[in-house]
C-alpha cells in the first residue's frame, strides 16, 4: 500500500503529468467553447422567413415546381411521383413542402447556416471522443512513467528497495491504471458537465431518459475499459523495451506503417472483408457495440452482399487477447531479465 501510494505520487509529481493535464483540460474547455460559439438555438422567425423567400425564388424558376404547387393532385396524376404518396418521409408534410422536397429541390434550410448542438444525440459521441484522446494521453503517461524510470536508471535502485519484482510490477501497473482511470473519469465528467451547459445555453439538451442513460453509460464504460487497456498495453511495451520511446514508437509505428501495410495487403489479396485486418475496425466495434462489414456480392442474381458482423464481444476478445499477450510478455521479461 505504501509503495502504491508512493508510485501514485511519483506519477502525480512528474512534469509531464502537469503538462498533459493542462493540455487535456484546455482541450475539453476549448471544445466546449467552440461548440458554444458555433451552436445556436434554431433560427429566428425573421431569418426563417428570409430563407424561405430565397428558397421559393429558386424553386419558382422551375416550371414543374410551379405546376406542382398549383395542382393538389400533382403526385397522384404524375406517375413519376407516385411514390411520394407512400413515402413515410413525406407523411405530414404540407403539399408545398412536399413539392419543395420532391420537385423543386430547394428549401429554407439551404439558406440558413445554423447548427444546433443536440446533446441527447451528439453529446455521447463527443464524450467518447474526449475519453479516447484522454486514454491515449494516459497511455503515453503510463508508459512514460515506466519507461523514464528505466531509462533514468531509477528502476534498478527501486528494485534494490523492492526486490519482489512481481509485486513491484503489479504496483507500478496498478498505479498507472489508477492514474489513467482517474484522468479519464475526471475528463469525461468535465466534458459531460460542460456539454450539458453548452446545450442548455445555446443548443438542445433533449430528453435524457432511462434508455439514453443506459446506452450512454454502456458506451462510456466500454470506452473507459478501452482506455485502461491502452494504458496497460503502453506500460507493458515500455516494460519490454525499457524505454518510453520504444512503447511510443511501436504503437505509432503500428498505427501508421502497420495500417498502411494492412491496406496494401488487403488491396492485393482477394480476401473477404479485408477491413477485419485493421485494428481500427475492431476498436470501432468495441466502442459502438457493432460493426457490419460488407463483402463482395455473392452471386449473379443475388443483389444482397454478404455481411460480417463484429460485435463488441468479438472485439473485446481480440483486443483483450492482444493486451494480455503483451502484458504477459512484459511480466515474463521483467521476471527473467537482468536489470542492466
Amino acid at each position: 500500500m505504501n509503495l502504491f501510494k508512493a508510485e501514485l505520487r511519483r506519477i502525480a509529481r512528474r512534469r509531464l503529468t502537469l503538462v498533459f493535464g493542462i493540455l487535456l483540460l484546455a482541450g475539453v474547455v476549448g471544445l466546449a467553447v467552440i461548440l458554444a460559439s458555433i451552436s445556436s438555438k434554431g433560427p429566428s422567425e425573421e431569418t426563417l422567413a428570409e430563407a424561405q423567400a430565397q428558397a421559393d425564388e429558386m424553386n419558382e424558376q422551375n416550371p414543374d415546381y410551379l405546376d406542382c404547387v398549383e395542382d393538389e393532385s400533382y403526385f397522384e396524376d404524375n406517375e413519376m411521383y407516385g411514390w411520394v404518396e407512400t413515402d413515410p418521409e413525406y407523411e405530414g408534410m404540407s403539399h408545398k413542402e412536399a413539392c419543395e422536397h420532391a420537385v423543386g429541390g430547394w428549401w429554407a434550410e439551404d439558406f440558413i447556416w445554423t447548427y444546433t448542438f443536440d446533446f441527447e444525440n451528439e453529446g455521447p459521441f463527443v464524450i467518447v471522443g474526449v475519453m479516447i484522446v484522454a486514454g491515449l494521453v494516459m497511455m503515453l503517461l503510463g508508459s512514460s512513467a515506466i519507461g523514464a524510470e528505466w531509462s533514468s536508471g531509477g528502476m534498478s535502485n527501486l528494485m534494490v528497495w523492492h526486490p519482489n519484482r512481481m509485486r513491484l510490477w503489479g504496483v507500478k501497473l496498478g498505479a498507472a491504471l489508477a492514474a489513467c482511470a482517474a484522468g479519464v473519469v475526471v475528463l469525461a465528467a468535465l466534458a459531460f458537465g460542460l456539454l450539458v451547459l453548452v446545450a442548455s445555453l445555446r443548443g438542445e439538451v433533449g430528453v435524457l431518459d432511462g434508455v439514453w442513460w443506459e446506452d450512454t453509460l454502456e458506451l462510456v464504460l466500454r470506452t473507459g475499459v478501452l482506455a485502461l487497456g491502452m494504458t496497460l498495453l503502453g506500460a507493458s511495451l515500455a516494460m519490454l523495451g525499457r524505454h518510453t520511446a520504444i512503447a511510443g514508437g511501436v504503437i505509432a509505428g503500428y498505427l501508421i506503417v502497420g495500417e498502411l501495410i494492412v491496406n496494401m495487403v488487403s488491396m492485393n489479396l482477394s480476401m473477404d472483408f479485408p477491413e477485419r485486418l485493421s485494428l481500427y475496425t475492431w476498436v470501432g466495434a468495441w466502442i459502438t457495440g457493432r460493426v457490419e462489414l460488407y463483402g463482395a456480392y455473392s452471386g449473379f442474381n443475388d443483389m444482397t452482399p454478404e455481411v460480417m458482423v463484429i460485435t463488441w464481444g468479438d472485439a473485446g476478445v481480440l483486443l483483450g487477447a492482444i493486451v494480455l499477450l503483451f502484458g504477459a510478455l512484459a511480466t515474463w521479461s521483467f521476471q527473467r531479465r537482468d536489470a542492466a
Binding site: 501510494k5 508510485e7 505520487r9 533514468s152 535502485n157 528494485m159 536489470a339
Partner: protein, 358 residues
C-alpha cells in the same frame, strides 16, 4: 558470529551472440564478518559490481550460493532487504525530481518515517541542495544522494559500490568517518568496493581482492600487507659499475633469490634476510652503501597480487589481471613474487586472456 555475507562459487556468464560467452564471475567466494568495514577490491572488470548486483537480486546468476544474514538470496531477499542499504555503481535517479522528493518517495514506499529524510540529507551534507532537481547535481552530489538513500533505512548492512567516486577530499574524509562510525559504533557491517587503495587501507578492517571473477586473497588489511612487505630489498653501491657483479653474486649464492638491476640500485627478492645480503656481498668483495627494506603499501600489494603493475610504455588491458587456477579455492596467496615478476605474470595472463577470447 556467523558471517553477514557468505558467497560461494558464484558464477555469472554473459552470453553474447556470435562471441564466446564471458565469465564475469567464475566461482567467486566472499565472506564478510559482522561489524566490519570490508573492502572489495579488484581491477576494472574483475566482477565487483557484478557480485554486488547478484547479491541484491538485480541479475540472475548461473551458479553458486549467496546468503545474507544467514538467509538464502535472492530467494529470501524480500525478507532481509529492509535491513540492507545499498548503492550499486553510481546510481541514477529521475532527473526532474529534487533530491528531497527522491528520498521522500523511497521512504514512503517502504514506510519509513519522513523525518529520516531530513536527517540523512544532513548526514551526507545535502541539506541545502535538497530542493534542487537531481538534473543539476554534480557527480559528487549524486553520489551523496545515493549514499543518503542507502542510509535511509538505518540498515544493518551497507553495501556501497565505489562510494568515493566523485567525492571531494572533504567528502571522502567525511565518508570515511561516517562509515567507520557506522561500523564501529553502530555495529553496521559495511562492504565497500573501491579503487582508492590508500583510502581502503585507512578505512577497511578486512578485504577481499578479486581478479577475473575469482577471489585471490582475503583477510584483514593489516595481515595482507604484512604478508607481502619486506619481501624485497633495495641495495645501492658507491659505484654503479658493481651492480651486475653484485646481482651475479647474489643469485648464484642461493637458489631462488632474485636480483634485478633497476637504474642505480639492485632489487633483491626472496633473500632470507638483510644480513645474508651484506654477508654474501662482502664475501664477494663488494661493499654496499645503502640497504633498505622496501615496505609495501596496499597499492604495490594490489598490483602484485592482481598482476596489473604497469610496464613501461604499455598499458595493462582490461582482463589481463592474473587468472587464478580453477582448482584450489580459496587460493593461497602467491607469496613473495618479485615486483618485476608481476608484469610478466600479467602479460602471460594477458595472452591467455586473448586466447580465451578467440
Amino acid at each position: 558470529m556467523p558471517p553477514i555475507i557468505e558467497i560461494s562459487g558464484l558464477r555469472k556468464t554473459y552470453r553474447r551472440s556470435f562471441r564466446q560467452p564471458h565469465n564475469a564471475l567464475d566461482g567467486l567466494d566472499l565472506e564478510v564478518a559482522a561489524g566490519q568495514v570490508h573492502g572489495f577490491l579488484g581491477p576494472n572488470g574483475s566482477g565487483k559490481t557484478t557480485t554486488l548486483r547478484a547479491l541484491l537480486g538485480l541479475i540472475r546468476v548461473d551458479g553458486g550460493t549467496m546468503r545474507i544474514f544467514g538467509e538464502e538470496v535472492p530467494h529470501r531477499l524480500p525478507q532481509v532487504v529492509g535491513r540492507i542499504g545499498a548503492v550499486v555503481e553510481s546510481p541514477q535517479f529521475f532527473k526532474h525530481f529534487s533530491g528531497r522528493l527522491t528520498l521522500q518517495l523511497l521512504a514512503e514506499s517502504a514506510g519509513i518515517p519522513k523525518d529520516r529524510v531530513e536527517s540523512v540529507l544532513e548526514q551526507v551534507g545535502l541539506r541545502d541542495a535538497a530542493k534542487a532537481s537531481v538534473k543539476g547535481y554534480s557527480l559528487g552530489m549524486r553520489q551523496r544522494l545515493a549514499v543518503a538513500q542507502a542510509l535511509l533505512k538505518q540498515p544493518q548492512l551497507l553495501i556501497l559500490d565505489e562510494p568515493a567516486n566523485g567525492l571531494d577530499p572533504a567528502g571522502i574524509h567525511h565518508m570515511r568517518e561516517l562509515l567507520q562510525w557506522l561500523a564501529h559504533e553502530q555495529g553496521v557491517t559495511v562492504v565497500v568496493s573501491s579503487h582508492l587503495l590508500s583510502e581502503v587501507q585507512q578505512l577497511c578492517d578486512s578485504m577481499t581482492i578479486v581478479s577475473r571473477g575469482r577471489r585471490i586473497v582475503d583477510g584483514s588489511v593489516a595481515d595482507i600487507i604484512a604478508g607481502h612487505s619486506g619481501a624485497s630489498l633495495s641495495v645501492r653501491f658507491p659505484d654503479a659499475g658493481s651492480l651486475p657483479e653484485a646481482a651475479e653474486a647474489l643469485t648464484t649464492a642461493k637458489a631462488g633469490v632474485g636480483a634485478v638491476v633497476e637504474r642505480d640500485r639492485l632489487v633483491v627478492t626472496n633473500a632470507p634476510e638483510a644480513a645474508w645480503v651484506t654477508q654474501t656481498l662482502a664475501e664477494a668483495g663488494i661493499y654496499l652503501s645503502e640497504l633498505v627494506t622496501q615496505t609495501k603499501n596496499l597499492e604495490s600489494v594490489f598490483l602484485e597480487l592482481t598482476g596489473t603493475a604497469p610496464q613501461p610504455g604499455q598499458t595493462v588491458q582490461i582482463g589481463q589481471s592474473v587468472a587464478v587456477p580453477e582448482t584450489a579455492s580459496p587460493i593461497e596467496v602467491p607469496v613473495a613474487v618479485s615486483p618485476d615478476a608481476g608484469p610478466q605474470a600479467g602479460s602471460e595472463a594477458g595472452s591467455e586472456a586473448e586466447e580465451a577470447q578467440r
